[in-house]
């Protein structure tokens, strides 16, 4: 990539700037202040600090992506946001109210397909409504509307194991949205899908986000995905997990895959790569980037390159 030719990722054209001004004028939906989380080691003595002093705000109907290298605690962060884990320090407000455990104001879509295998697609979508006290007929009617929205009404009576990976995630999104949460938390939801399905799901998620009043916090390790989807990208750095930068994506909306070669997109990507790769250089301590020298196991003249 030729950095000389690219504009600064901070440069925004007037239209994009106006959009961000409008976005920031909206209410703060999710507010995180001084969030710190540490885990006890196996021996109960040593503590690993997973997150340290995380601060950020998300506005209503914002699409926020969180990226960072492995070990930066992004999964821990979203689990705390969901209420599945509790922070050691710091404050977490959703729509002005402090978070105490999981609740229906925050829906979550996991990377693994967490549909209930014993329930049909329709009943999976009804689940959240029913546990929150909706009557059977109300739940059935509302779930049917959500199935319509995701285009899976034909599969209402199918069981999850009969669906493809992309379809399962669509149902999982519908199941989370049926509760009408204020915030939709997504933890690498398309990570297990093949490239084509993932691209379709991204476009489809943006379509849903445009149509309904939902704030999305989306974790990914795919930088292209983050730029394509997000209004702003929160970049974390590892050991301990801290906020490195909050990037406002200068790529105009509506987004399309074709924007992947525009200067704004490439400039943003260059900046993200700089942030994520500079932190832990070539080989990090987990050893994931380094590999051992492999002895030659083929004949001398049998070369492939």
């Amino acid at each position: 990539m030729d950095d000389m030719m690219l504009p600064s990722y901070l440069a925004q054209d007037p239209q994009v700037r106006a959009r961000f001004a409008k976005l920031k004028a909206r209410d703060v939906m999710l507010s995180v202040k001084g969030l710190t989380k540490s885990f006890k080691g196996a021996n109960g003595q040593s503590e690993t600090v997973a997150l340290k002093g995380i601060d950020f705000d998300t506005h209503r109907r914002e699409f926020l992506c969180i990226v960072g290298p492995s070990g930066c605690g992004k999964s821990t962060l979203i689990r705390i946001l969901a209420g599945l884990e509790t922070q050691n320090e710091g404050q977490l407000l959703v729509d002005g109210k402090p978070v105490k455990g999981p609740g229906r104001d925050r829906g979550m879509v996991f990377q693994g397909y967490t549909l209930f295998p014993w329930l049909t697609v329709h009943k999976n979508v009804m689940f959240g409504l029913q546990v929150n006290g909706a009557g059977r007929s109300t739940a059935e009617r509302e779930a049917a509307q959500w199935l319509d929205l995701i285009g899976l009404e034909k599969f209402a009576d199918a069981y999850p194991h009969q669906l493809s990976g992309g379809m399962k995630q669509r149902v999982a999104i519908a199941r989370a949205l049926a509760n009408q949460p204020r915030v939709l938390l997504m933890d690498e939801p398309f990570g297990a899908l093949d490239a084509q399905t993932r691209a379709r799901m991204q476009a489809y998620l943006l379509e849903i986000w445009r149509k309904i009043d939902i704030t999305i916090v989306f974790i990914t390790h795919d930088l292209d995905e983050a730029i394509y989807l997000a209004d702003r990208i929160l970049v974390l750095k590892p050991h301990p997990g801290e906020v490195q930068e909050m990037i406002e994506v200068p790529v105009p909306r509506p987004r399309s895959m074709a924007q992947g070669i525009t200067p704004e997109f490439l400039a943003t990507k260059a900046r993200l790569e700089e942030l994520i790769h500079s932190e832990h250089g070539g080989a990090d301590e987990t050893g994931e980037d380094s590999y051992p020298a492999i002895a030659r196991l083929v004949a001398v003249d049998d070369d492939v390159e």
């Binding site: 999981p102 209930f116 546990v131 194991h161």
Partner: protein, 314 residues
Amino acid sequence: MRSSLSPRARLLLGIMSFCLPIMVWAAVSYIPFLWHPQVLITDPGQVDYFQPGMRVGAGVFADELKSARDQHQKLPTGIPANPIYLPAPHEVLMAFYTAFTTPPATAGGPWLHQSLWHSIQVIFWGFVISSAIGVPLGVMCGASLAVSRLAEPFIEFFRYLPAPAFGPLCIAILGIYDGPKVAIIVIGTLFQQVLIIANSTRKLDPALVEAALTLGTKRLQLLWRVVVPGIMADIYRDQRILLGWAWTYLIVAELIGTVSGITWFITQQARYQHFATMYAAIFMIGIIGLGCDLVLAWLGRRLFPWDRSLTGAR
């Protein structure tokens, strides 16, 4: 190794798995030179202790034949035979019918169908009582670490104690009739049951529980809406295996106190040397057990259409 089989091949292999042992049995029974270690006397000749219908060892018969020939006496004759405890397949097959039509040897004793029914009732109550305690306790052990630590170490210890060892105690407490028999089946099944059900409960994917929590499920709802339905298919499968387990305790249980049920029938037949009938009764236990299991497997596929491990190979 585990490539899938066509339904035809599966049926064929299933039938073969029964046919092969029967073929071995038939070969041993009908081909004279294969085993036949005894001689069934047809004519005693002048050997004074031989009687028609008597079985003697082949060696004894050869000795007597030789000495009769040496003394120019009338020769005994006989045909090679298997010991009385190994009847031929057709005899056992006939016994399947005659066992039900033959009146009990002792007046007022139970007929075969009454004995079988008695045994089935003992199994049923033993298994129902064991499940009524074992399934809820197992689920609680699997769902809660505290309950698991409180209950499981003792149960681990107790399951190594052989159930029949409690026979005299059960008689002392519950009398000599069906009480101690049901109790032995409960003791034999319950402790394994708690541990097996607890393990199945622990295998529930924790991500499903988390997903339910993020949908706003409360603690108590979690048990009924996620944990129980999530493990139901596994528990059903466990119960099928455990029911087989309960059957294997039946004979020992029925020997405790007054011998009853199919065990009484089997010991009676052996006492009168009706071995064909005895085998028929033993096989009936197997047929009833397998029949139950097939019905339960079929029912399981109807009850849990979402469980692929049930709809696939049994």
